[in-house]
């Protein structure tokens, strides 16, 4: 105990928060391994790393979400063991999650005081005081918002700041922000940074988790990099560059590259364009996005979560409608009013979540045949033909167990994903849209899916692969478009490309 304190006495100020030797595992999976982390008073501390590197797990431990871990946590030198998020708040630790927990239909003031509205002596809500206090609190962030406007009417950037003021109201000294800039426009980012600097000047400490390295490097005093559940470094921002941070994130230089960490792109502009998307916007997440899909090519779209890939895939399959821009199929303008219309034109889509397109309680063959029933017979069902077709797919895709009549839910995840693909394989689609095609799959199933997708490409299908995992994109894509906040950030069509290039572009 005494030894600990003398350590800090020798160097710099005493940390506000300190994790030492923290490990956390979920079942058999090690999510964090021997992590040390310190947060100084009055600093903005950037936290970066790829998906699954351990930054979110670390913050959830600090915020009292994960209560079961090895190692110790100290606040102002005093060892604490948080038992809940409320417990964390009592220890002045507050977190603003990426998915805001606001109530859009309530007023700004009601949102700020959600759950502990000031009351009058007779027990009713003291609206006057609540509105006055909310206005004061928001003004302390340098903002001018009418506390009686409804939350939903505010732009996302302000909603986020109101949520931040709620955390401040609860007295938080340590504020954790998870991907705060991902939904913000550049002026909104500047506004947020001003607020953060103001809070730092008041002596509060901020943890800033983000994929956007430019943002992290701009606002942070120090940066900690995570990789594979371990802390790689904590360093002063002044001694870091974007390239050096990426190098730490992906571990370049430490060992040879693995599969999916680099690729040789083979985009061929001579191949005919099948689907041409020009300047589409959906009014929210997509802004003036353009892409061309060519026959016999896999086009990868890489971007962080929430960059607009999900919306792009849904719009191209007719699930949501586009506000602006044009989509052309074989040169002819198309506008799909339903997924059925998109399917009829030869567009196929496998969403990122298998449950979204599979009927777990129905037999395998009904899952496969649902997309081709009209091609088997306009009016009648032909279960024998359905089963025969399904058997063919089961053989081709090596789906296990090889039975057509068992409920789909009894198959493993990888095999379910193959069934989801099989849906679209009886009659080759013109365009196949795959969202996160290999996420969460074991190695064997992953390789099977990769093989299937490549063979479809070789048979002339124009394939669009959307992913937040650089490995998936680099393994599959012939050309890559990087999407950032709904617009094209960069395009790669030929030549050597590495994971670092994608991370730097996004």
């Amino acid at each position: 105990m005494i030894a600990d304190q003398t350590q800090h006495a020798s160097g710099g100020p005493e940390p506000l928060l300190e994790l030492s030797n923290v490990s956390k595992h979920f079942g058999g999976v090690m999510a964090l391994q021997n992590v040390d982390f310190t947060l100084l008073p009055g600093e903005i501390h950037g936290l970066v790393g790829e998906n699954g590197a351990g930054k979110s797990t670390t913050m959830k431990i600090i915020a009292g979400v994960h209560t079961d871990f090895d190692g110790s946590m100290r606040i102002k030198g005093r060892e604490v063991r948080l038992r809940s998020a409320g417990d964390a708040l009592a220890n002045s630790i507050g977190m603003v999650h990426q998915e805001l927990s606001i109530v859009p239909d309530l007023t700004v003031a009601e949102n700020v005081f959600l759950g502990n509205q000031p009351l009058t002596t007779i027990g009713t809500v003291d609206w006057g005081r609540m509105n006055r206090d909310a206005k004061k609190l928001i003004a302390s962030l340098g903002l001018d918002i009418d506390p009686t406007t409804t939350m939903g009417a505010l732009p996302v950037g302000l909603q986020q700041l109101v949520e931040l003021s709620r955390v401040l109201f609860s007295g938080a000294q340590i504020i954790i922000l998870d991907e705060p800039t991902s939904a913000l426009s550049p002026p909104e980012v500047r506004q947020l940074f001003e607020v953060l600097r103001r809070l730092r000047a008041e002596g509060r400490s901020i943890v800033f988790i983000s994929h956007f390295l430019d943002d992290v490097l701009e606002i942070s005093d120090r940066v900690t990099v995570f990789r594979n559940g371990k802390k790689v470094i904590t360093e002063d921002t002044r001694s870091l560059t974007k390239d050096s941070v990426i190098a730490h994130m992906i571990g370049r230089g430490s060992k040879g590259m693995h599969m999916g960490e680099e690729a040789e792109l083979r985009g061929d502009d001579a191949k005919p364009v099948v689907l041409s998307v020009q300047g589409v916007s959906d009014g929210r997440n997509l802004r003036d996005f353009s892409i061309e899909l060519r026959a016999g090519e896999i086009t990868g779209v890489y971007g962080f979560m929430g960059s607009g890939q999900i919306e792009l895939a849904r719009a191209l399959f007719g699930k949501v409608s586009l506000r602006r821009g044009s989509v052309r199929l074989d040169g002819k303008p198309v506008r799909f009013r339903s997924t059925a219309a998109a399917r009829a034109k030869g567009i196929a889509f496998v969403p990122e979540n298998r449950r979204m397109m599979l009927f777990r309680q129905e037999p395998v063959y009904k899952n496969v045949s649902i997309s081709i029933l009209d091609r088997i017979h306009r009016l009648w069902l032909k279960p024998r033909a359905e089963k025969r077709i399904t058997e063919g797919h089961i053989k081709d895709l090596q789906i296990r167990p090889p039975r057509t009549a068992i409920p789909l839910g009894s198959l493993s995840g990888g095999n379910q994903q193959k069934v989801a693909l099989a849906k679209w394989l009886t009659h080759l689609p013109r365009v196949l849209i795959l969202s996160e095609p290999t996420r969460g799959m074991d190695v064997g199933a992953k390789e099977d899916v990769i093989r299937i997708v490549r063979s479809l490409r070789d048979r002339g299908v124009a394939i669009l692969v959307l992913s937040t995992e650089p490995e998936t994109i680099l393994t599959l894509a012939d050309r890559v478009t990087v999407i950032r906040k709904g617009t094209v950030a960069r395009e790669f069509s030929t030549g050597h490309i590495e994971k670092a290039d994608l991370l730097a572009a996004a």
Binding site: T339, A340, M357, L358, F359, Q361, S371, D374, H377, R378
Partner: protein, 356 residues
């Protein structure tokens, strides 16, 4: 090959089978138990005459229940069935010449035109419901509640508190005519005995049969089950979910309308609020039969059993010595029991597939 496949997980399969089939077994079991109970409790219950009576009383409800089965299979609900039946029944009477003492400003037209207009009104009711749900996005519960009121309003405007007695000949025949008789020999007094089979029963059986064939053997029927089973997955498989939902609402309104036309002829009069009990009866028949309120499970077979359970309860309670006010409560309790089984079967099924 199949023996080896099925033999291995036998004990497990039995459990799964029961979890799967609870919704089908429970109603049949209920039906048998009720028939046995009433047979012992009353001498007059288990007679050929009475059995036929039960079926006759079910025929109008049965036609409505066919359409409602489609709706409930897609996990929607239609609360306007009885009101639409009433409005369409009144519409067909409105366009038929009435006796002098029926004091409404009706517009007599040839019978076939009156029937077409009545069918068109049913179609229009369905179309409005479908549009409200699929284009505007109003939940079926609220949309059909509004349609119930609208259809009642149409009835009120057309009939103006009067009672109409005349319908086109075709409707009179189908609603109250005898299709054929089954001779049963000669009784002690030397009179020929026969069972008359009314047209409503025939029409009801045709509706049930066609309803079943469409659900089981057509692409459209499969889409209905898939949309009910997982709407999002159906949409991501390229099924036109809005068309399926909209069309079942139109089908349901058409079934209700036809039931309404036959109903007024069956009752012999067309007046306001005549079909009020049919809403609860039709919903009860579908749900008691075991069609899942969450969609995707069940079918016309279930609805037939549900109809019979309902018919036996309604009829059987008249045959035993019981406070007639208590009967209403008993019907409610039976419906509650069926709902419990319905929801429990769903929970059990989901648990089972999570274990897989």
């Amino acid at each position: 090959m199949t023996t080896a496949d099925t033999a291995a997980p036998r004990s497990f399969s039995l459990k799964r089978f029961l979890a799967d089939q609870l919704r089908n077994i429970a109603p049949v079991f209920t039906l048998v138990a009720l028939v046995v109970f009433f047979s012992f409790a009353s001498n007059s219950f288990l007679t050929l005459d009475n059995m036929l009576n039960i079926i006759r009383q079910l025929s109008i409800t049965g036609i409505i229940a066919v359409g409602l089965t489609y709706v409930i299979l897609t996990a929607e609900i239609d609360l306007s069935v009885a009101a639409v039946a009433n409005a369409v029944g009144i519409t067909v009477a409105y366009f038929t010449i009435q006796p002098d003492y029926v004091n409404i400003a009706n517009i007599p037209l040839p019978g076939w035109i009156a029937i077409i207009l009545a069918l068109a009104s049913a179609f229009a009711f369905g179309l409005v419901t479908a549009g409200g749900m699929t284009i505007i996005g109003i939940p079926s519960f609220i949309m059909t509640l509004a349609m119930m009121q609208i259809a009642n309003g149409v009835s009120a405007l057309l009939i103006r508190g009067q009672i109409a007695y005349q319908y086109p000949d075709l409707i009179t025949t189908l609603g109250s005519g005898t299709a054929f008789t089954i001779p049963l020999g000669i009784d002690a007094a030397g009179k020929a005995m026969f069972i008359p089979i009314g047209w409503p029963i025939i029409v009801c059986i045709v509706f049930l049969l066609v309803g079943h064939l469409v659900l089981t053997y057509t692409r459209y029927g499969r889409y209905i089950y898939m949309v009910g089973g997982n709407r999002e997955a159906a949409e991501y498989s390229g099924v036109n979910v809005k068309f399926i939902i909209g069309s079942v609402m139109v089908i349901c309104a058409m079934c209700s309308g036809i039931a309404g036309m036959l109903g007024v002829a069956y009752f012999g009069s067309a007046q306001q609020n005549q079909f009020d009990t049919f809403l609860l009866d039709a919903i009860a028949a579908v749900v008691v039969g075991g069609t899942s309120l969450f969609g995707g499970r069940g079918g016309i077979g279930n609805t037939i059993i549900g109809l019979l359970v309902l018919g036996v309860v309604n009829n059987g309670l008249d045959h035993i010595q019981i406070d007639s006010f208590l009967k209403i409560l008993i019907r409610g309790l039976i419906l509650l029991a069926a709902l419990i089984i319905n929801v429990y079967a769903q929970v059990l099924k989901e648990k089972q597939s999570d274990l897989d």
